[in-house]
């Protein structure tokens, strides 16, 4: 589908001032109806970075984005863009443009007029406006739709117009508020790749808000996982996936099997936890003390399934095989232990599952797989 492709951006849209796209949030808080929507948030976004604010609804990610855009003013703290403190600067004076969740295209204007809307205020000479609009529409391969009205466009087309309308103004920072949530899955996956490529070529700072962890993983240089108005963890997609700093992050990014238990031994190199169905020995130490309650997280892809009951050794539990389903390139195996704990495993397509449904199996994982968190 070349219709969805995004072309290489025209040279004049590429960010040329490397410092302009740096965003710093220092101790930013926002109070909504006596609740902290965002609480003492510190965040430094490098110029040219693609950062995602990831979290469930109500975690403060959209509020944070709206404060950068100037649609909300922080009750505490300061937001700095390109070295300039924003204070109470209104949205129309910030070097920032937004792609809205609903696209918010002006329904009474053609595609070309929508894209040209902001150029008037950017003091672009009238003679250059048509060229700039044509370039931006060409970048999202929508030039042939310039005279259409927004209502005549599909969701994907509208989204690309919204992108062109924002980028044509050469913002130092582009804010994207769940722009893909209305697209169907296939189109969304294509757009994720296009958007990432476009961002790399433009060098513009992208701040992307999403509740979809796969989307964040696909596109971001860094992901800020948010919860209850705070950033739980910030890091590269690999860091937040492989070394989640809390049980919350572990559960939010990717799938997890959680076991609750009691710490029986802990030192700087290993932790032992007794759970209902056996013992866990984790070589990646957590911040837990012996005797304390703990939560153990094991990724489904770390778990191997074998026939027959588990031997009396750590990192193996006996379970009953409940279902096996093919999901793309892997098999999802669901088992339930004697204590009623559901254990999910994810094994590559082609690996034999040596048992039938209802059989007793062993779920086993290597000692470097479990993450241990305080309960």
């Amino acid at each position: 589908m070349t219709d969805t492709a995004i072309a290489a951006p025209p040279a004049d849209l590429v960010a040329d001032d490397p410092g302009a796209g740096r965003v710093v949030l220092a101790g930013v808080s926002k109070l909504y109806a006596k609740n902290w929507a965002v609480k003492s948030l510190d965040l430094e976004i490098a110029a040219g970075e693609f950062i995602s604010l990831l979290g469930p609804s109500g975690c403060g990610k959209t509020t944070t984005l709206r404060m950068i855009g100037g649609f909300e003013l922080p009750d505490e703290g300061e937001i700095t863009i390109g070295g300039t403190a924003m204070g109470t600067t209104p949205p129309y004076r910030r070097p920032v443009n937004t792609v809205f969740q609903s696209y918010a295209l002006f329904p009474h204007m053609s595609v070309a007029k929508n894209v040209a809307y902001g150029l008037k205020y950017a003091k672009v000479p009238k003679a250059d406006i048509a060229d700039r609009v044509a370039d931006a529409l060409g970048m999202v391969r929508m030039q042939h739709l310039a005279s259409r009205m927004p209502a005549q466009l599909s969701g994907g087309q509208q989204q690309r117009i919204a992108l062109a309308r924002a980028l044509v103004n050469r913002p130092a920072v582009l804010l994207l508020d769940e722009p893909m949530s209305a697209l169907d899955r296939k189109l969304r996956e294509e757009m994720q790749i296009e958007l990432k490529l476009l961002q790399q070529q433009l060098g513009t700072t992208f701040v992307f808000v999403t509740h979809d962890q796969e989307e964040a993983m696909t596109m971001s240089d860094r992901i800020a996982v948010m919860n209850g108005g705070r950033i739980e963890q910030i890091g590269s997609p690999a860091e937040v996936y492989d070394r989640p700093s809390s049980a919350y992050v572990a559960g939010f990014i990717g799938q997890q099997n959680f076991f609750e238990g009691t710490v029986t031994g802990a030192d700087s190199t290993a932790v032992a936890v007794q759970v209902a169905d056996g013992a866990v020995h984790a070589t990646r130490g957590g911040d837990v003390a012996p005797g304390a309650a703990a939560v153990v997280a094991v990724r489904p892809e770390s778990i191997a399934v074998a026939d027959g009951p588990a031997p009396d050794e750590p990192n193996a539990v006996t379970a009953t095989l409940m279902s096996v389903s093919r999901l793309g390139s892997y098999l999802q195996v669901v088992t339930i232990t004697a204590s009623g704990q559901k254990v999910m495993a994810r094994v590559p397509w082609g690996v034999e599952i040596p048992a039938t449904i209802g059989a007793t199996v062993t779920c086993r994982w290597p000692a470097d797989a479990p993450m241990v968190y305080p309960a």
């Binding site: 949205p91 920032v96 937004t98 918010a104 002006f106 406006i129 048509a130 060409g138």
Partner: protein, 308 residues
């Protein structure tokens, strides 16, 4: 790929049109019997004459004499005042109603909007005559307003039976008819469009001019029509508040029918009034079109639509 998967425009099938015809039958019959037929009768009467003191109309001799008679200096003076009161009244309604409707639709929390709407509607549902007589009491020389004026040593103001009293009365009486269509369009206005406009560099005034105003324009047009048309023909408000100095065309027509018993002349006056209303509406519609075309021309973005 250049072909676009756009939904084909829905064409009205023959069966669809047939069913619409059936559904439109009751209103068609209603309008034919109670609007078109009486209108044609009035039109017919306007070409006739009043043959004698005890006969209201006759069409034995057809002429345009009643129109000549209608356009006498007295009638034209009243007509001019009617037009002035109506245009100023409609404009005042718009100026007062817009901030009100905007506040109701945009600023007020959803749960309070119903209450605000009720506060607009309840006076409107109160009998027109009773409401207007209420103003007669307020404006009379024995009212508390006059008392306050006298207390301040300003003497007894002449408020009642002036064109000003009529102007006040019509704005009061027709205001809800402006607020309601404006509220409906403003309530449907997507606030994110306003944010998008500000995001793209437009300040509040520019956002209002380029986004809010064009989108709510149908509501403004509906409000202007809903106020201006009945206002031109109003005769209760000037009868109660206007006296001789503040009379309007509607009273002139009513006088010919009810007092002078000259239905031919009354019909001619009514037709003149209708033509005038139509002419004003058409002139303003054309003016609006012209302004819109000029603005569009000014903001045109010419793009060569190359195939992708």
């Amino acid at each position: 790929m250049t072909a676009l998967a756009l939904p084909a425009p829905r064409t009205a099938g023959r069966r669809l049109r047939w069913s619409i015809g059936v559904l439109a039958a009751p209103i068609t019959v209603w309008l034919l019997f109670f609007f078109v037929a009486p209108f044609l009768v009035i039109l017919w009467y306007s070409f006739g004459r009043k043959p004698s003191l005890y006969v209201t109309h006759a069409n034995d001799v057809l002429s345009l004499d009643r129109y000549v008679e209608a356009l006498n200096p007295t009638f034209l003076a009243v007509f001019g005042r009617t037009l002035q009161i109506s245009l100023i009244g409609t404009l005042l309604c718009l100026v007062i109603a817009f901030p009100m409707a905007y506040w109701m639709a945009v600023k007020l929390p959803a749960r309070l909007q119903g209450i605000a709407l009720a506060l607009v509607l309840v006076p409107y549902w109160t009998n027109f005559l009773v409401r207007t007589i209420g103003w007669q009491i307020v404006l009379s020389p024995t009212s508390f307003v006059a008392d306050i004026s006298r207390g301040l040593g300003l003497g007894t103001p002449q408020l009642l039976y002036t064109p000003g009293a009529v102007q006040l009365g019509v704005v009061y009486n027709y205001l809800p008819l402006m607020i309601l269509p404006l509220y409906v369009t403003l309530e449907r206005l997507d606030h994110r469009l306003l944010e998008a406009s500000r995001d793209l560099g437009a300040n509040a005034l520019e956002t209002f001019r380029r986004v809010t105003l064009p989108i709510v324009m149908p509501g403004i047009a509906a409000g202007l029509l809903l106020v201006f048309v009945p206002l031109m023909g109003d005769y209760i408000t000037p009868s109660v508040l206007g006296g001789a100095a503040g009379s309007m065309v509607g009273q002139q027509v009513a006088t010919q029918f009810n007092v002078a018993q000259n239905w031919a002349l009354g019909s001619a006056m009514a037709i003149v009034l209708m033509i005038a209303i139509l002419a004003v509406v058409v002139v303003f519609a054309l003016l609006f079109r012209l302004v819109k075309a000029l603005v569009d021309r000014h903001e045109r973005v010419a793009i060569v639509e190359a195939e992708a």
